[in-house]
């Protein structure tokens, strides 16, 4: 259900703190957006959003950081890039969504817990094996999400058809993948 954005314009909304932060992290100047709504018109997941893509851009223009970081929109974004492709101002809106999502996750704001959990388990899987172990990913997600039987009707066929291996495929040089994870996540300047 779309939400009507109502906010009081205070002095804070006039100080460009959040829009500058977004500009540094994603190279996007939110003030280039003139609210035409084309991003929202083409958004694949538009039916499922409370704040639409152009409303998210508006939150940045008004420097409403908490509202943006607490929005579910960046987590429901399917990263299909339709908004970016169609923006008449060539604004990379998908990149903005990604950036807000990363900030929100880092500051442990309210988000869509299933999406966030899925990403964590996915990354753990490749960190451990170098490649994705799909059966392990689905099983762990279902246990942690407390939906043990979700999609269980698909599993026997998948295994029978040889499409789901029962053991992970491991790469030889596992140090390589561990280095990549440690260095990108722990480095002070690199974490965006």
């Amino acid at each position: 259900m779309k939400r009507k954005l109502e906010t009081q314009i205070t002095l804070n909304t006039l100080i460009d703190s959040f829009s500058n932060e977004i500009k540094t992290l994603s190279k996007v100047n939110a003030y280039e957006c003139y609210q035409c709504g084309k991003c929202t018109a083409g958004c694949s997941v538009g039916d499922f959003l409370e704040e639409t893509p152009n409303q998210m851009m508006r939150l940045i223009q008004l420097n409403l950081r908490d509202e943006a970081l607490n929005s579910k929109t960046p987590f429901l974004c399917a990263t299909c890039n339709t908004c970016t492709a169609r923006c008449p101002m060539d604004i990379d809106i998908a990149k903005v969504m990604e950036t807000i999502r990363i900030l929100s996750e880092k500051e442990k704001k309210k988000n869509v817990k299933e999406v966030s959990k899925f990403s964590k388990i996915f990354l753990d899987s490749i960190k451990n094996h170098g490649r994705l172990f799909e059966l392990g990913l689905t099983a762990r997600f279902n246990i942690e999400n407390k939906t043990p039987f979700k999609d269980s009707e698909l599993a026997p066929s998948l295994i029978f058809k040889g499409k789901l291996s029962l053991l992970p495929q491991k790469i030889k040089n596992r140090k390589r993948i561990k280095k990549i994870f440690d260095n990108s996540i722990n480095e002070k300047k690199g974490v965006e």
Binding site: N81, A94, K117, R131, F141, G162, I171, I180, N183, E192
Partner: protein, 300 residues
């Protein structure tokens, strides 16, 4: 050209028929790809939505591996891997600062000056549509195919730019070359919901219902795809879609390489056609498009 092959995780599991059919087609067309040794996952959506640098470093590390193994071109059949490899290459070529940072992360100074092609891009631009046409032994006459490109093959067009971002045609050209009818339809580049399949299944079911409806409206016999995620969402979840919305879709979803394989004379088993959830064999048998004897002939 020294072509490296980057299958990605899905082609070794849920999309194994994409790998099998790609190999069959390449063998028939005498195309030589060598799989990059010890490749790692490209990180897909979870990596770039968790940490920008991680999302760039994982694919880049594969480009470095490919360069070390002597490849100058990397071909990826999976649209998601292809997209991540291209984005990483683009961002790193654009900024020296980013390149240094990613070299620091991979602890490897290898310069990965490699061109990255999607399999369809390779067929269209490097191999040639006419060459495919002249190799066809079993034209798929009368098969109405809706080519579904999805997001990652065509967007963002600044980075993945072998086709039009709103009305791509490269897969349709292949479909026509193998004798089938390429349908003009409305949902070529709509999103299937991709990685939301597990955490937000309801989104995927809704989006895929619209896609299947659009294909049905254009009276497609089947949908051709070139992305393991699109395939899984449309094929594996078609029954869930029917249960949720009371629809009666029964639309086979085939990898473009499976259709090419049929046209090149391979049989159902050679292309692993039996591994889909929505059975394409009935449709293809009804249309008399499965070359039963070819396999035996080849073996003799």
């Amino acid at each position: 050209m020294n072509y490296g092959y980057f299958p990605g995780c899905s082609l070794h599991s849920t999309a194994r028929e994409f790998n099998i059919s790609t190999k069959a087609v390449c063998s028939s067309l005498k195309i030589n790809f060598t799989e990059v040794e010890d490749w790692i996952c490209c990180g897909a959506t979870p990596a770039h939505t968790t940490n920008h640098d991680l999302g760039l470093a994982l694919p880049y590390s594969n480009l470095q591996l490919a360069a070390q193994q002597g490849f100058d071109t990397l071909v990826a059949p999976c649209a998601a891997c292809y997209n991540r490899l291209k984005v990483s290459d683009f961002e790193i070529r654009k900024s020296d600062e980013k390149k240094n940072r990613i070299h620091e992360i991979t602890e490897d100074k290898t310069e990965a000056d490699i061109s990255i092609l999607h399999l369809i891009e390779f067929f269209k631009n490097d191999f040639g549509i006419e060459e495919i046409k002249s190799a066809v032994k079993n034209p798929l006459v009368g098969l109405r195919v809706a080519s579904y490109y999805g997001c990652l093959l065509v967007r963002p067009n600044e980075i993945v730019n072998f086709d039009d971002e709103e009305n791509p045609t490269s897969m349709d050209e292949i479909v026509s070359a193998i004798g089938a009818d390429a349908l003009d339809w409305s949902h070529k580049t709509e999103c299937c919901g991709a990685a939301h399949a597990i955490p937000k299944t309801e989104i995927v079911l809704q989006l895929c219902k619209k896609l299947l409806q659009a294909a049905e409206n254009s009276s497609a016999d089947c949908i051709a795809v070139a992305c393991p995620l699109c395939h899984a969402n449309l094929d594996m979840r078609q029954n869930q879609i029917n249960k949720t919305f009371g629809t009666k879709f029964n639309t086979p979803i085939l990898y473009i390489t499976q259709l090419m394989g049929l046209a090149l004379g391979y049989g159902a088993n050679d292309l692993s056609l039996q591994s889909h959830f929505v059975d394409p064999i009935k449709l293809l048998t009804r249309k008399n498009l499965i070359p039963q004897l070819e396999k035996m002939n080849r073996e003799n």
